[in-house]
Symmetry: C2
Subunit: 442 residues, 2 copies
């Protein structure tokens, strides 16, 4: 087998065999296939695409390039949730407790984040003492005992994906559905989950700006999951404006705790109910979406979810009094209240720019080595569709370094559009893709 023949074949629009896909992925991972041939092939894939079978084979080849986590020590069906990434997305934190409180095992392995805010581990580390540094035995043992555990990814999962992504990034071959889908799914599937709920974000703050593209990506990922025999569902959700009211690390944990206490903003609650219900469905705990939503609401109302969350944090070394007084999680030196300069309806709160605003304050990292400031963040007082009078507070900015405020304010101002005309916020759930097909809700 020769790489040049594989490039010719895809260039001419032909379908690659499993053997050919294995050849170039393993060859590239082991540095037998050079960058310049891989990038030519990626560009050919960009134009000619890959069909369902090719995409499944690509995903499997990427999985096989590294370790695969074995969760068989954990009893029951393990359902994982994965988001394609959004601004203010604290659902993983809340969902863990909501699902575990329904006696479904939550065995979550997470990496650290690169971007506007940290990853789930970074966020929970805002709680002093909390650690995700567990052995696989302790991790499994904890799930078996209290239904929930959060571990750091220590194994070398899908190393070919890291190399491919770095190459795609510099050769204009990022935005191809098959390449994106196999990248996401290879990492998920290598993490050992039995079933997967995907939250595919769409809108200004998401990778997929366009709703149709988000459905296409959702479909490609559902096809991969089901193609390898792991039931997968994709929920297409909105990311025109940040999710909930907070953006940061500690402040997002605070909002997740508020949700468990029954005090969450409606968009966040609706999304958690929806995703949580699908997790219960895939775990075969409930048999209808409605039943699942009821169960999720119930563990909020009866306090079970909050109790599970406390036990979980305590088990992993976190100081419990922060859960009783979660406002300590975003106690910064300074607070700036940004007010409306005129009367009007909020027309736009560009999620991407608000994400950059949080990053500027120190809530995220662009490089792996950067230290995160867990306390800084934003708290929106108004969202799209709300009416404000001149002088009303639109956002509270929590910050620790004065010199960073100016740049953050500029970004926030750029994100905001006030208008005389009313505009409703988009629905939070745009639709669902299952192996049976897609259902649009917006």
């Amino acid at each position: 087998m020769k790489m040049i023949d594989i490039i010719y074949k895809k260039r001419n629009g032909e379908i690659l065999t499993k053997e050919e896909i294995n050849y170039f992925i393993h060859g590239y991972n082991e540095e037998r296939v050079p960058d310049y041939q891989m990038s030519a092939l990626l560009m050919a894939i960009y134009y000619k695409g890959m069909n369902k079978t090719e995409t499944v084979n690509l995903t499997n080849a990427i999985i096989d390039s590294g370790d695969i986590i074995d969760l068989s020590l954990i009893n029951g069906l393990k359902v994982d949730k994965h988001s394609t990434g959004g601004v203010g997305d604290k659902t993983t934190i809340a969902l863990g407790a909501l699902v575990a409180a329904n006696n479904v095992p939550v065995a979550k392995l997470s990496g650290r984040g690169l971007g506007h805010t940290g990853g789930t581990i970074d966020k929970l580390e805002a709680i002093p003492g909390f650690s995700a540094d567990l052995s696989i035995e302790k991790f499994a043992d904890q799930v078996n005992k209290i239904n929930i555990s959060l571990g750091g990814q220590t194994k070398d999962l899908a190393p070919a994906d890291k190399k491919l992504y770095a190459l795609r990034d510099v050769t204009a071959t990022i935005d191809n559905i098959s390449l994106i889908a196999s990248s996401v799914m290879s990492k998920k599937l290598a993490s050992g989950a039995d079933r997967i709920v995907l939250d595919v974000k769409t809108g200004s703050g998401a990778f997929m700006k366009d709703i149709d593209e988000a459905f296409a990506l959702g479909k490609a990922m559902v096809d991969i999951g089901n193609g390898v025999g792991k039931d997968t569902v994709a929920i297409i959700t909105d990311m025109e404006q940040p999710l909930g009211n907070t953006i940061g690390n500690g402040i997002e944990v605070w909002e997740a705790i508020q949700l468990l206490k029954g005090k969450a903003p409606e968009d966040l609650l609706e999304l958690c109910r929806y995703l949580g219900s699908y997790m219960l469905l895939l775990a075969e705990k409930v048999s209808t979406l409605e039943e699942g939503m009821k169960e999720i609401q119930e563990v909020i109302d009866n306090g079970k979810a909050l109790e599970v969350f406390k036990t979980f944090i305590k088990c992993q070394g976190g100081e419990i009094h922060y859960i009783d007084k979660p406002e300590l999680l975003y106690k910064t030196k300074y607070v700036y209240e940004y007010t409306a300069i005129k009367d009007g309806y909020i027309h736009q709160l560009d999620a991407e720019l608000i994400g950059k605003c949080a990053l500027t304050l120190g809530a995220g990292r662009l490089e792996k080595s950067t230290e995160i400031d867990h306390k800084v963040g934003l708290e929106l007082q108004k969202k799209i569709g709300n009416y404000v009078k001149k002088g009303d507070i639109i956002v509270k900015i929590y910050y620790n370094e004065k010199r960073k405020l100016d740049e953050a304010l500029k970004l926030f101002e750029k994100s905001l559009v006030l208008s005389d005309e009313f505009k409703a916020a988009r629905k939070i759930i745009h639709g669902v893709v299952t192996k049976e097909g897609e259902k649009r809700l917006s």
Copy 2:
């Protein structure tokens, strides 16, 4: 300017500016742009193409990557002829004398060949003593005195083309008209000619297997030449079977000399008359194609062309008695006469396979360091459309090493198809592309 932005732009089908094209060619030539970005861009160009302006700018950027030869020491309009490469193509040798005998300066700079037979210099070196190792002053002086000179390329012409070609070869991005046209024309234009006649071959022995593709390539090259202000004409000619009757080095020089003596096969004579006439036209020596053809025939008939050829060979150190007895040029140890195994019409003499047959005998080189055997070669006794009886000689094979004959015979046998039905050979001239447009003749 960033390479990634240029890749995105072309990937999305946009037109690249002159500055962008200069950026990536010079960046690549100077190793600031890495192979993997260049190959992604080449694949995007493969799919999205380049328009006329982009192709001219690409050619100019490649020319600017190296030296440009200055022929201003030579009086008059310098017309160069270039062939895209075929089997048995000895036209350059004959045409030099035919055009120079018409008082048009022929200042030919040539490289050594890679492939089935040698380049023009390799072929003429079959004449003992002949050397193309001239200083640019001596080269120019000789043209001014006797109208003709052949020099070796000593300067570093279009180095970016060499690098690009090597990359295209391993990334399946060879066969794009703009990339091929700019590659050929950059080398030609850097060689300093004022006007250019291109011989674009089409058929089994040519790079362009398809006639329409050959016309498209001709048009792209004519557009480039005229785009940089150098009158260029492309003649689309046949390469289904070898040109003339001989394939080799000394044996091709012999056939070129036979032509100058008025004893050439019809296809070779017709092509030389046609190409020569266009050279006289571009040199403004004649005003119609017919007049040019008449002038070319006249210098054959009156012996002037042969005389010029002798003077030229003498000036460059060659032993003149080889021109009087040119059969010495292919005097090998052994001759094998391949005969027809049945009666029938010759249906096919695959040019590419016959080229490989000559290469096997030692007539060409695959690597620069290989020594050529100037005397080995093939002499066809029959061509497509001829009828043979069982036992008739189809080809004489001249060879020096017994062990090479078997492989050569296998290749020749594979090239040959005998049939009960008559098939005419294709016309030698398929058409012409000038700046006014194309004219098809077949």
